[in-house]
Subunit: 405 residues, 2 copies
């Protein structure tokens, strides 16, 4: 069994790095705060004798040797947060992995296969788009050049920022043989809490599509220009949003639509904007469902162009199709949960996770624990110490199950 | 008669300061470019013997002495532009005034009353809100403290920026007795061009209200959060826009609604924003019409709050009620247009102008000339040299009429 108090204390210590007045975290990928978080993690791992290696994408691998030279059992998640993020998203998965290693060290247990805890770079996709890019490059979904070239809103790239904070490692960002991989995470949704269950046995991840939608209008004066002479990109954007929200909601209760970022250019109050740029996120658990949403978007774009005389450009920014996790890994989690006697249910993740890309090259599954009100990507994100401990115990058992003693 | 070629050449020379690749101007208030434009204007005025004085709001007064110590006849407009502005908005009114003085100088004509050409600070309201703040402080609508304290998006204030560019003058920003004031301007709308008229005899300016509308939601994760659990400020903003556009369009063809600026915070694609901030501009030529729009906004806000569960905050940023110009000044323009034989019509301005505030303390009217396609606040803004010359001739005659020779 893991030490729930030690896990909680480490979570709280990490949360001070980039801690916000509202009690959340702003530790965006490859900032000075991210560097501090990485340094703290590496120090903690070295203290229990782990070897630390960093790859060309800044992914950190902390290794605890096994008794045999087998492919490792890995776990991990990310330390980066949203700009107004919480204390648990990602961090929990990393520190639960660390807690597993600490528990084994304390009990002088050596596994047959080595164990590794991984910190994946830029999982959130908040500073650099897309999400899960560290694990994505590592798993071969994206090239290293693509990864290094991704830029934030100020034009700073992942490659340069990795170098700046000292985390541009020399190990190739590419997979090696892996026995099994697990990732513990808060659910980030309301299901476990509503159903009063402690553990989610995660069977897969829903599909995600990201778009940059640009509405091109004609700038003109707010006063003398008659309404019917305008090609107004705000009119177009608001009409598209209203139509698409309605379509998404009536299509299926599993469908999701989020407009997380939005800006008008040139952004002068008495000028109809030249353009409006919208960052759009659509999701569905089934491939056909996601395809339906994609088609709906393009149909609504046509309708809105017709209705408003504006030109609407839709650029595909990212597509992460639905993923089903490995049966054996799911079974290992299921077995652990049953042995430990926690209430549980099977579920599909609504959020993307590094496990999506890891699953391309290794057997993977995930372990969810509840979070208060299902709230995440919010400074008020919170979770019960007891649930976090339960998830850690499941992770320990599942890893031992696959690594052997 | 003025020299149309000299006027055109001066417009083109001024347009090089802050000239954009798309052929427009970006010479926003109190930037280095604005300073260069002001310096050029001051040099031109000194070359014809004018005395230059600058007040505490950076308003520049170029004075040509009269034969008697009478209150001056003034004209002028502004040199600042929108971020993606044109070559004529404001600049034309300033340089047409300069051209009047040059013509009198060339012809060795001395008027009875002195003449002054004024450059008013920050008319556009693009960098610093509200619009017409230089003339507004001067006329007593706003206090000097309020004027100096207004900040741009980076937090830089008018007071500090005036000092930085060397245009924080020592003359009090307050009115003195004035015989009459005129302002020449491009129409910035389509009426004169459509009706093939050369001169608009402007009888007043419609009313304007500016609002900062903030939609407060609950940030949450784009994936796991069910649509019905969200308090989504983009949903609220788009619904409000659609409802209000519909109300404004059905209320009256004279009503205007513009959403010139818009942004989401924290602005992360996979997070429902915490808030959306919208800069809203509503206009109507009649006070009752503007009040009706104001009431509509507040009713729609209530409806949208009910429908979306968000909280919507409406902050009044500026209110410029409809203005009727002075009968004698309108008559002076009308007389000049008729004497010169230009086709013309009476009209109400859709845009706000410095004349709105000048009219609080002096008899005022305005002279409009057509602009291509009615387009303004756009880099493609353009006007015919012939029309600009006609407007300059009307200005000359109207000023001579009030100043006497
Ligand atoms: N776990 C998490 O917040 N991932 C970010 C990627 C996504 O948008 O789902
Ligand atoms: N003339 C002009 O563009 N004025 C700006 C003030 C307004 O918004 O009407």
């Amino acid at each position: 069994r893991i030490d729930g108090t030690r896990l909680w204390d480490s979570l709280m210590e990490m949360a001070q790095i980039g801690g916000t007045p509202a009690g959340g975290c702003n530790r965006q990928a490859l900032t000075d705060e991210d560097k501090q978080g990485r340094d703290l993690f590496a120090r903690w791992c070295r203290e229990i004798g782990c070897e630390i290696r960093v790859d060309r994408m800044g992914n950190i691998f902390a290794r605890r040797a096994g008794s045999e030279d087998l492919p490792p059992v890995i776990t991990g998640s990310h330390l980066d947060t949203q700009p107004t993020g919480g204390k648990f998203d990602g961090v929990y998965g990393v520190l639960a992995g660390l807690e597993v290693l600490r528990t084994l060290e304390q009990n002088k247990v050596t596994t047959r296969a080595p164990l590794e805890v991984v910190v994946w770079t830029n999982e959130e996709g908040a500073r650099f788009s897309p999400a899960m890019i560290g694990s994505g490059v590592w798993a071969g979904e994206f090239s290293l050049e693509y990864g290094h070239g991704r830029a934030d809103k100020e034009g700073k790239t992942i490659g340069n920022e990795l170098e700046r904070i000292g985390y541009l490692g020399d190990m190739p960002a590419e997979p090696k043989p892996i026995t099994a991989a697990f990732e513990a995470h808060i659910e980030q949704g309301p299901i476990l809490e509503k159903q009063e269950q402690v553990i989610g046995v995660v069977t897969g991840v829903q599909g995600i599509r990201w778009y940059d939608v640009t509405f091109h209008g004609t700038p003109c004066h707010a006063g003398p220009t008659p309404m019917e002479d305008r090609r107004d990109p705000v009119q177009a954007m608001s009409l598209l949003c209203q139509k698409l929200y309605a379509e998404v909601k009536t299509f299926s209760e599993d469908a999701r639509m989020t407009c997380g970022d939005l800006r008008a250019e040139p952004g002068s109050r008495n000028t109809v904007p030249e353009k409006v740029v919208l960052a759009l996120d659509l999701r569905h658990p089934q491939p056909e469902g996601l395809e339906h949403l994609h088609q709906s978007l393009h149909r609504v774009v046509e309708e809105v162009q017709q209705a408003t005389g504006t030109t609407i450009e839709v650029r595909d920014e990212w597509h992460s199709p639905p993923v089903a996790f490995n049966e054996d890994c799911i079974a290992a989690v299921d077995k652990a949960v049953n042995a430990l006697g926690y209430s549980h249910r099977k579920m599909v993740s609504g959020a993307g996770h590094d496990s999506v890309y890891v699953s391309r090259v290794a057997p993977v599954s995930m372990i969810f624990v509840p979070c208060a009100g299902g709230l995440s990507h919010n400074e008020a994100e919170s979770a019960e110490a007891e649930h976090l401990e339960a998830g850690g115990n499941v992770l320990l058992q599942a890893m031992l199950d696959r690594a052997g003693i």
